[in-house]
């Protein structure tokens, strides 16, 4: 049975419907991320679970208990906010112990639980500091400890790492996942950062315009996107156009070359279709037998560290290719001709929807 159960929940602010008939089951101990650009309804959905927003329709159940009409302070759900929201008038120790004291726990009990939490976030020596004496990352760790000190039935995190530096973000997200797995606490995590969502979640729910476009494991969502939107939102995607050659065999003509796609195409022969191709599925050279091959001219080479991104111009279209950095083999020079190959399974036909770069840019900027 699902531990958190959302059934057809909706939320409107005036005429603006932010969440549309959204249903979701989260299992006990599961870590689910809501991933999407700004205004996709992910934070609103989380706030409805927390009780800070009331659904316009539908129901929220936690552990079989209907949450409608139950105030946020009676739900026993831990919440971590983007801006930490630590109490400025209290030390780290008192912040962490706040919920326990509210619940009526006695001195020694509070102290021992607070010590346990300080150990969990490795911040024993900061116990007597005030929030303004801590860095952003430390504050967020305290906020996490404060939220789980009261042993909530589930943990809700609203973009907890958005305000932090890249390096601390990576470290802290791993810490969050480790703590979550150690405690086995059911967690819902809201983020606009796909790497964050893919790296720490059991399942990722990709949201768009108030609906879940796809929910699945990070592997599924990345490799088998259910909709063109998911395909374009997650990871980098090459979008090419080609003409259908043989729909039943799934072959197409791209820049004068016949290519095989992952399966039959639902379009008549001669029809123009969009094709999607992940940059990492391409490689330089003829590849194995049966692989698709295209030829082009190297337009630019970007060195990204462990990965090198090569942009190739082929028949008027640009193709991105990602390859691991190899210290013994520098990338081919710009302007040279190159042959690229990729397996037929990597080429998906029917991605008719435009890649939404502006949408992703907005998501990345969303604070």
């Amino acid at each position: 049975m699902a531990f958190i159960e959302l059934r057809d929940i909706e939320k409107s602010f005036g005429k603006n419907q932010v969440v549309k008939r959204l249903s979701l089951d989260v299992g006990k101990g599961e870590f689910v991320s809501f991933l999407g650009g700004s205004g996709c309804g992910k934070t609103t959905t989380l706030r409805m679970i927390a009780g800070f927003e009331t659904p316009s329709a539908g129901s929220v159940k936690v552990d079989g208990r209907d949450m409608s009409g139950i105030a946020p302070n009676k739900r026993n759900l831990g919440m971590v906010f983007q801006n930490y929201a630590l109490f400025p008038n209290m030390t780290v120790r008192r912040n962490i112990g706040f919920g326990l004291r509210i619940a009526g726990a006695k001195g020694a009990e509070v102290e021992s639980r607070v010590d346990e939490m300080l150990g969990l976030i490795h911040m024993e020596e900061f116990a007597h500091r005030y929030p303004h004496q801590l860095s952003g990352g430390q504050q967020q760790r305290v906020a996490l400890a404060r939220a789980i000190a009261v042993r909530p039935s589930a943990l809700l995190l609203d973009e907890p790492l958005s305000a932090l530096d890249a390096k601390i973000r990576v470290k802290l997200r791993d810490d969050i996942r480790a703590i979550q797995q150690r405690l086995g606490i059911t967690t819902i995590y809201v983020t606009h950062d796909q790497e964050e969502a893919l790296s720490i979640s059991d399942r990722v729910a990709v949201m768009r315009e108030g609906r879940i476009e796809q929910i699945g494991s990070p592997f599924e969502v990345y490799n088998r996107p259910a909709t063109p939107y998911v395909a374009s939102f997650i990871g980098t995607l090459n979008l090419l156009s080609g003409a259908v050659a043989d729909p039943s065999k799934g072959t197409l003509l791209v820049a004068g070359r016949e290519l095989r796609s992952s399966g039959p195409i639902e379009a008549p022969a001669g029809a123009e279709v969009k094709l999607s191709l992940r940059p990492e599925s391409l490689s330089i050279g003829a590849g194995q037998a049966g692989h698709n091959r295209i030829e082009g001219r190297i337009e630019s080479v970007k060195f990204l560290g462990s990965v090198v991104r090569v942009v190739v111009e082929t028949g008027g279209q640009r193709v991105f290719m990602d390859t691991f950095n190899d210290p013994s083999a520098p990338p081919p020079p710009v302007g040279s001709s190159v042959e690229l190959s990729f397996p037929p399974e990597a080429l998906k036909a029917g991605a008719a929807e435009a890649a939404s770069e502006p949408e992703r840019a907005a998501a990345a900027e969303e604070g």
Partner: protein, 262 residues
């Protein structure tokens, strides 16, 4: 650069002179109670006058009641405004200007007309005086509290406290009010300063308050009013100094000095 610094000093000195020359003159004048020598005889006269202590005591009591009533009324309202209807804040700000726009004499006559006869006859009761004082101090209390609430992340702190199980009472007592400390202190002392010197309402409602006493003194005596001015100036500065001292000790605590941070 050098010339600029010189000019800054000149303006500063002019400013100091503007404020302090009248004060020094008043002080020197207040010392001339005895012919030919400087003495504190005017001050002695003021303190010896039983009316001084009586009226000051009365005004102080009224001021304390005003602070209590004003804070009880305005603090929760302002918090509620911030949390629930932030869009109504500009409207309330216009309301806060009304006590500046409407002269106290109009307010006093309005109160007398409305509450002189049944069903609500309050003219004989200090309740009406305190109610009037709450209106006069409303802008000061509201603006202090509003500034205090703007300075903290009220919504975030409220939601954090609620998610940790806190109800409204715990939220107010343990989170919001402790973080409003400076704002509440400044609202309190501003109200004290205003109410203690207030003349019109006390006069028209016929209460033996400090404001009317000072006015009376000014009409009948020469040196004592100057001494009174200096005394009330001292009391006001004392109150401001107290705010500074209390908030600084709060800040020191918050910044970890003496709080055992390491």
């Amino acid at each position: 650069m050098k010339r600029k610094t010189g000019l800054s000093w000149l303006w500063l000195l002019l400013g100091i002179a503007y404020f302090f020359i009248p004060l020094a003159a008043t002080f020197l004048f207040s010392l001339r109670g005895k012919k030919g020598v400087f003495s504190f005889v005017a001050y002695a006269n003021v303190f010896a006058d039983p009316l001084f202590l009586k009226t000051f005591g009365f005004s102080l009591r009224m001021a304390i009641l005003t602070v209590a009533a004003g804070l009880a009324l305005i603090v929760p309202t302002t918090i509620w405004l911030h949390l629930k209807v932030p869009k109504a804040r500009p409207v309330v700000e216009i309301f806060t200007l009304l006590p500046f726009v409407i002269p106290p004499i109009i307010l006093a006559y309005g109160l007398i007309r409305l509450y002189a006869k049944p069903p609500i006859a309050l003219v004989q009761s200090p309740v009406l005086l305190v109610a009037g004082y709450v209106i006069i101090s409303f802008p000061y209390i509201y603006r202090s509290v509003d500034a205090g609430l703007r300075a903290m992340d009220l919504r975030g702190l409220t939601e954090a406290a609620q998610s940790l199980g806190a109800g409204w009472l715990a939220l107010m007592l343990r989170v919001v009010l402790p973080n409003l400390r400076t704002a509440l202190l400044s609202a309190t002392f501003l109200t004290l300063a205003i109410v203690i010197g207030e003349l019109t309402l006390a006069n028209l409602l016929a209460w033996p308050a400090f404001g009317p006493y000072m006015a009376q003194m000014g009409r009948n005596r020469a040196y004592e009013p100057a001494a009174l001015s200096i005394i009330s100036f001292g009391l006001t500065w004392g109150a401001i100094g107290l705010i500074q001292a209390l908030t600084r000790s709060g800040r020191d605590k918050a910044s970890g000095i003496g709080a055992g941070a390491h």
